[in-house]
Symmetry: D2
Subunit: 317 residues, 4 copies
């Protein structure tokens, strides 16, 4: 492996590929697999988001990839949506220090996510905006039962921030699934909305409605690609949907710090998913053990360099 | 630290406490905190389950702790419920080997969870039983919108297996919350149920309904204890509910292999949760970095030894 | 898996073995392998020590296992010997807290090892005692070139503490190899000794002399067992010696938190060592991902229960 | 954080610094600290190498940094030297696959290091070359007691490969310390050399001689910088030498996957070292949790970009 001054990110990845082993070799392999997914016009690319990737700074990169349709479907934790919208409503994530006294932060109404600080008032502003939005949506579509995906569309069309993941997905017609939407600030927002509404109609979210929506997308796809940042519920939802739609995943990239030996899904090998029919036995697979915040921007820059800044994929689901 | 022949588990934990550092010291501390939770009659003890703890063998231990009310509320992934019910319907988890060829397993209709094998036919049996149960429940309570917790109660009363977590919880009046119920085999079961039913009524699960149920329990509790096996959605749901119920957690035990530096919730320190008002600044806290399957049975045996096999807590929520 | 009040540690391990997966199954397997090593009279059992296991409290347990010859050869970091001798010279390891301000500790002359505190004065006392011992040994055996093992024997016979690993090994005729002896307080002690001595003779330690000693032991052994706590240099030394003595290891137990993907020896699989001829292809092997301080006492108590407190192995190297 | 096509590695690092958190923020910080070390003409920069970084592909990058004196002192495991020399003698490291059958590899005389394959014959060639070199050196300097550092100089001047770390260090007058030299193929080479020599003189390596050499370098340094790849003996040797030379480290960068909770030195925080007087309380410090093979090339490319390809530091020790 050689490095030199002014080398581009993709040139570094090429060095990783030619002569690097361990993590370096795997990152290069993952970039190649992602490139092949993007080139494959029949492939539906699903992005799985868990962990605090939005507060930590991946927001614009992800919004950009969605707009270019390097991502066709997003499956995410509620928290990443909440932090995306927090910025859309004018809130901020600040760089702090992980060793700050948490009791002090509490007294100063500042929430901590490792080395990120978020002022409570930004959450209050977001809560109030989203409660109003929920009221509005409930008014417009009385008694309608939403899937998490439909709710994201409703929110996406109401916000105005081109760096937002939710707005970008709305613009690019990329569905966003939030299988554990209840496990996030959305549950508090819904609670406030609900307690203020009676006797007016309340927004309803049907826990299972999105299943069919996601399965239908997969059934219509010739090939399925999965890019997992983290693990958790979003990874499982994609894999499980691939199994029940009887398709199986063709390309799989996993970036995680979890390990297989303790048996959790997040750290399980991509190979294990083959025994369940979730990932095809001959799928192109790469697992990278590392910090998403270091590895994914590296991959994204490499991929953009391969296609050029102007290239965009077009794909109908 | 000394060990000797025929020492009981709690005697070993006492050695951990007196003279052991690192993980040993933390396990001993966690046992002491758990003991204090159990002794505290005003404390609601919430158990958070993520990772494949039920298939891996904690099922009977957990059912026993629930029956003795060493646990007052369960918050779990859907998968752990599914694997609990799989055994209740006569299915089995087999000990296999983690290095088996997954493609071969797939051909032999055998699913792998690290070193556990589950025959597909046990899933098929479970699916068919649960679809029927869903039909029945939908018949009985037409158009009713269930919370995940209410659905668990309906299932609990219909199954007959005293080692089952769901049945034990039903018997002991311990609510089970499954915030990401959609992310599990339940979504497939619901899909099959739904597609066969029209024009008959279909079971409805409201994603947000359980929020208020859990918040109400916490609001009525003088003190809150949390025992986290793993992390993920269940840990976040408990912590978030503690914040929005304006209570804050008093006792917290965390057993995980995740680490804080990559910023995910599962690996975040218990202290971080204090900045959010989720865990009280003076809470009793212990974090153990280790495999739940080794650490938790050790703790359970130690706790049972402290109280005797016959002791049971009684607590109304 | 079931637990109950007053169960002994070995009864818990039996539950791990019968019905536990993931870490639990592996711990049970490791205990069975250790039992077989102890029963195998032709097996030389090598214990590899890295990480701060002695300061953290394993000292008496290890000394006891050495005296009973459940261990035939010790290969260790210098630090574990230094901390063993520190207690032999009257020093102590105190339980502190890992979040203490290190600058404050520095000002109060207190060294920290995660949550263990060691007063600087205990090191000063040890340094001074060992410098004198080095003077004495250099006097007695002028110009002799010691191996690390011979030096440990010289030290062992001069100290008087039956809980000491070094003394127990001396009594039980168990050699102690310290391949990286220079990387420890011994290098400072030697420096002080050397700088005060001229023109008197100075203690000489030949870096390579121990190689042959260890290789000879392995060559004479019908079978080789290895119990690795941690990894690092001691693990590599044992494995490398097994290869160059053309024997190959028959039983291998590894307790570590390191992982294979980043390519270091400490986290490498036991299987990888087979490609090098270090571990036999059909060796009995168990790898446990976990904290040595929790797992090893558990295993030791289980093993002692299987053999009874009075049993001791006898073996000539 | 934003990425775009054709961005250079340092531009990506700038993004990490401006807007990235978790690992991204820490990598940026580490690059800044390294830049300051290089600019600081009074700073002695010590590089600590553990893990299979040379076989995995960092060899040329490290040799280049040594030649430019971005590194003033190397402290390494024996294995990294052995693999550097293996290539200098015409051997190769091949990219293989981590899931290959190790028994098969053994039969085909191929050693595996995670996903790297090394033919046994390359080792045989290296062994034979080094045995001859040892013979030669022993002839030339009869009865001389070498430090590991002096031995590396003797080897360095005898090999002819400008990409070699050992040769580059020889050319750039960068000392290489190998505190655990006995724990490597060098011990086998020495064994063969020794067994063939009598009655001719045998090469002697004094385990403790290098201590003073390293301490003297540190004593003469106005400031000390440490860049740790991995951990283990090399990290400890640098830190311990900083303490006994009464200097304390001013700049510290640590790239590791180990974690502090299990108490080993490799995973211990840089702050812990302050309690021992090893790292100054106000030192510039950055710890990156990640794979050295991904993180270090990224850092190296960023640093080279900051200084330009032609810049070289000059420094006398």
């Amino acid at each position: 492996m050689k490095v030199r001054s002014k080398m581009t990110v993709n040139e570094l990845i090429a060095e990783f590929g030619k002569s690097g082993s361990f993590g370096a070799g795997r990152v290069a392999e993952a970039c190649d697999i992602y490139e092949r997914m993007v080139r494959d016009e029949e492939c539906t690319i699903l992005l799985s988001l868990a962990g605090a990737v939005v507060p930590a700074g991946l927001r614009s990169i992800l919004a950009d990839l969605i707009r270019k349709r390097f991502v066709d479907v997003v499956v995410t934790t509620g928290a990443n949506v909440i932090h995306d919208l927090l910025e859309a409503f004018g809130g901020h994530h600040y760089k702090g220090h992980w060793r700050t006294d948490d009791w002090l932060l509490y007294k100063y109404h500042t929430y901590r996510i490792y080395d990120i600080f978020v002022p409570e008032e930004d959450f209050i502003k977001e809560d109030s905006n989203l409660v109003k939005m929920f009221d509005q949506i409930a008014e417009e579509k009385k008694d309608y039962e939403f899937s998490s995906n439909e709710l994201m569309t409703e929110i996406g069309k109401r916000i105005d921030d081109s760096n937002s993941i939710v707005r970008s997905a709305y613009d690019a017609k990329v569905p966003i699934f939030v299988p554990a939407i209840r496990d996030s600030e959305f549950s508090y927002i819904h609670l406030v909305h609900m307690q203020r509404r009676p006797p007016k109609p309340v927004l309803k979210v049907n826990a299972f409605k999105e299943t069919l929506e996601l399965v239908e997308i997969l059934k219509k796809s010739s090939r399925i690609g999965m890019v997992v940042l983290g693990g958790g519920v979003p990874r499982n939802t994609i894999q499980h949907s691939a199994a029940i739609s009887r398709k199986g995943i063709d390309y799989a990239i996993l970036i995680t710090m979890d390990r297989p030996e303790t048996g959790g899904l997040s750290g399980s090998t991509l190979s294990e998913a083959t025994s369940w029919g979730k990932i095809k036995p001959r799928a192109s697979k790469a697992t990278i053990v590392g910090d998403v915040m270091v590895v994914f921007p590296l991959m994204a820059a490499s991929i953009l360099e391969r296609f050029g800044d102007k290239f965009a994929r077009s794909r109908e689901l």
